[in-house]
Symmetry: C2
Subunit: 525 residues, 2 copies
């Protein structure tokens, strides 16, 4: 495929700006030949205006028509063939096996939402029929309007141009303007082409989808500040997410920002678990910390245990294994530099001991960082919030607690996380309930005897959590409930049947389950 | 009852501050004798700390135990007897009939949430059972933790200390710290006493409820900025709500703000409706604009119609009726001053014609403002956003459009509202669909041939809308779904049955409906 290096605005390529940037192969640090054009303020305007115009049409499309678009997108992504995998591999170094699986996850997300949409009950129709002294009131969910999506670097397929945020916003019936991640601009363009083809193929207005390139912060700031944007989805760093959140909150007309900003994902290991399964847990932990070179928002970055001979042996064991594991490829120079700077900040605290790694690897011809294990005390963590920053990469920090009280006090001092994990044994269950409650308050997902990397895309999954994990702890960015971030309820009072949307009509022509006067039923009124 | 003028912090009265303010009777402009003490920063700290401590306990209470508290609150409010009605009437001038009805609505809200909680299905349990290669994942809703609630002036019962926001937050299982409205401090203290009694009676920790008095902005700012607060509910003015929203967004750890800030509630009247029912609509409109002296967030403040002899006659008719209606009592001096200043700002636009009223009433011994009708053109509204400000009181503004296109363009230019209304006839249905879609995009509730005042507390009600109507258009502040503003989903992965909360256990001991592997069922796993 011949790439252009241009933005995709409502189905047309556009390169009005003179500022360009280049794709970089993380395995060779070599930049590509094709210049990618940063979008201009005028191009951002144009993309949003096209999305606003598109919304005027698609807000009245049926759910099944939108489902058709989602299925078509999956087909067009597959039609990109293996060239997509090779392109993404060159830009991210993630490797073909991982990218092959991630592609399936991405197309699977579109198809899962398509399936959801084919039963319009997901619109949550609620009807209160007319009663003496009370009018007929009927509500369902509607799309909020144009959505801005910020792509992540670490999932070039599943959380990027055609990732879960884009899928859930389109599924909601909202046009999408994606700010692509500058770490993989060629991959982004391939996805933009597939998305634009699907939009055209299904007869949707071209403004239903646009993709903007941008290596700096300007494009994102212009996009979020635009009055035509009604909601924002973001996956990335705390610094980036907070900047977007702040920009949206400063608008004359603020809009919700659903930012997923990663976390340290605390893991508690009990004395019983260490006694029973120290080696197994050590192997699992090392595998989880180094998976994808540690570049997961669910990477276990903070390990809490009580001081003992067994725990010291465990730490030594993990440290050795981490030191022996090969240093993986990092996604790009910004990730490598950010990791170096984060670890530097952490080790500047005199209570931090570096057990292995803790430095950049000199003379490497690829972007990387040494697998790193650090150790500190519970008191140190409680005394300095900065020790809870995310080290995005193959890095973990042991927190050695004096005893159970020290551990409990430390868990209470934790910030919000996507996940929290506990390793324990069956005979500890009675004593562990309160600790589990504490861990629950700090996260969106609590894991028992497992590891937080690996996020099953199922209905019960919750991928979210209190700030700084996200800016909207009541929502999820993985799973089908992600769609409701981009919808809002609208109620109709006494509106004649002819003017009601299909899911709310007396006769229930779609034959869907509805809440009618408090009862779930598919019957007509 | 002997009032103290103190704050209620975790069941104890407290008056550490020297700054005081007084209750004022709006019918006589006379202030009462009892000084009410503004809470100090230390008292705010203490209330929030008590709420945080209380949450540690009540986060593990069963839904039915919380339901018991809600029922008890309703009983304790009723036990305040008619003294509550007289006290509120003296402080608000709303009159005993209205207040009697509002009291029933308030106790009804607590009882409705108690009923909801007695079927734990409201916790939305979702289970994905273990499958090859996929762990067991189970999620349900949990309370977010301590909530700050800001009481409104215009509903001293239903949206104040013991109003819908407080009821929904407590129902969620979150402790509440209420910032009372300074317009009715004695009424607020009576409610605080009832709430505190109920908390004690049901054996809840005292920090479950606190009430802070404050005549200025400091108490609210301290409260929202406090790190122990996890979410905020607000009902009041755009200026007040935006200040609270901004304060929460500036926090090191931002939290969601659910602010309901009122709106102008546009009403479109078609030529057909005018031809068929001009007098009836005029009567209904005047009644709706002057109801409660116009002090409703759903007051119809912007009436759009097409220029014609009939519409001019209609405007004349409404103007005459508004001029003849007696000037009602306004809640307090701040409301009266705010209304005067809002109308002054509006009439400063040369395109605004004042048809009746438009000024304060000299020499009145009660707080009031003349019933006011203004008129302008569609072009003027589109040219100046400031003409869309809310005039909180018995004021409405006619927007005369040249033709249907002019009307449509004006509806497109409207800001977000709680409601939008259309009066039309059956033979216009075919042409009106697109206009209805436009009105839908501007509001949370669309009303056909009715008036927006009157908000039925039913499941299908949506009381919310795009900014500036609210800061969270995906949520409602009326009806049972209001509870989810103060809850968040938490997922459990592979957690042993003994440690799971009751609604998620294998055996379904509560016998509730759950989503299990995509199917709604009350069966055990």
């Amino acid at each position: 495929m011949q790439l252009t290096g241009h933005n995709y605005i409502a189905g047309e390529t556009s390169a009005e700006g003179a500022d360009t940037f280049f794709s970089v192969d993380p395995r060779s640090r070599q930049r590509g030949d094709l210049p990618f054009h940063n979008a201009t303020a005028a191009e951002v305007d144009r993309a949003v205006a096209a999305a606003v115009a598109a919304f005027d049409e698609i807000r009245n499309y049926s759910s099944s028509r939108i489902a058709g678009l989602l299925d078509e997108i999956a087909i067009q992504i597959e039609a990109l063939g293996d060239e997509l995998l090779h392109c993404a591999d060159r830009e991210t170094g993630l490797g073909l096996p991982r990218l092959t699986g991630e592609r399936e996850r991405s197309t699977g997300q579109f198809r899962a939402f398509a399936t959801l949409l084919r039963d319009a009950a997901y619109l949550r129709p609620i009807i209160n029929s007319e009663q003496p002294g009370q009018p007929s009131i009927r509500q369902m969910q509607f799309p909020v309007g144009p959505v801005a999506i910020f792509a992540a670097s670490n999932f070039p397929f599943a959380f990027a141009v055609a990732g879960g945020d884009t899928a859930s916003a389109l599924a909601a019936g909202s046009p999408v303007v994606v700010k692509a991640h500058p770490g993989h601009p060629a991959t982004s363009e391939m996805f933009a082409l597939a998305m634009s083809k699907a939009v055209a193929e299904q007869g949707f207005p071209a403004g239903t989808f646009s993709m903007l390139q941008g290596a700096g912060i300007d494009v994102g700031q212009w996009l979020v500040a635009h009055d035509g944007i009604e909601a924002v989805g973001f996956t990335g760093s705390l610094r980036g997410g907070r900047a977007i959140y702040d920009a949206a909150a400063r608008r004359p007309r603020p809009v919700p920002v659903y930012a997923e900003m990663g976390s340290v994902n605390p893991v508690v290991i009990t004395p019983g678990a260490l006694a029973a399964r120290a080696d197994e847990i050590a192997d699992g932990l090392v595998a989880s910390v180094t998976l994808g070179t540690g570049q997961f928002c669910t990477n276990p970055g903070l390990i809490l245990l009580q001081d003992s001979r067994a725990s010291q042996d465990f730490i030594t064991n993990v440290t050795e294994k981490m030191g022996e594991a090969p240093a993986g490829v990092l996604l790009n120079e910004a990730i490598a530099a950010g990791l170096e700077s984060a670890v530097e900040q952490t080790r500047a605290n005199p209570q931090i001991e570096v057990l292995t790694g803790g430095d950049a690897i000199a003379d490497s011809d690829y972007f990387c960082y040494s697998n790193t294990v650090m150790q500190t005390t519970a008191a140190a963590i409680r005394a300095d919030d900065r020790l809870q920053i995310e080290h995005f990469g193959p890095v973990t920090l042991f927190v050695v607690c004096q005893d159970e009280d020290d551990l409990r006090a430390t868990v209470d001092a934790l910030e919000g996380n996507l996940t929290s994990t506990i390793h324990a044994e069956a005979d500890e269950l009675e004593d562990i309930g309160e600790l589990l409650h504490q861990l629950r308050e700090k996260a969106g997902r609590v894991i028992w005897n497992g590891f937080p990397t690996g996020v099953a895309v199922v209905q019960a999954m919750q991928h979210g959590g209190p700030y700084p994990a996200t800016t909207a702890p009541g929502t999820t960015s993985v799973g089908l409930n992600a769609i409701y971030r981009f919808m809002r309820p609208i109620a109709f009072q006494n509106v004649p049947d002819a003017l009601l949307p299909e899911p709310l009509k007396d006769g229930n022509p779609l034959g869907i389950l509805r809440q009618v006067d408090g009862v779930s039923t598919a019957a007509a009124l």
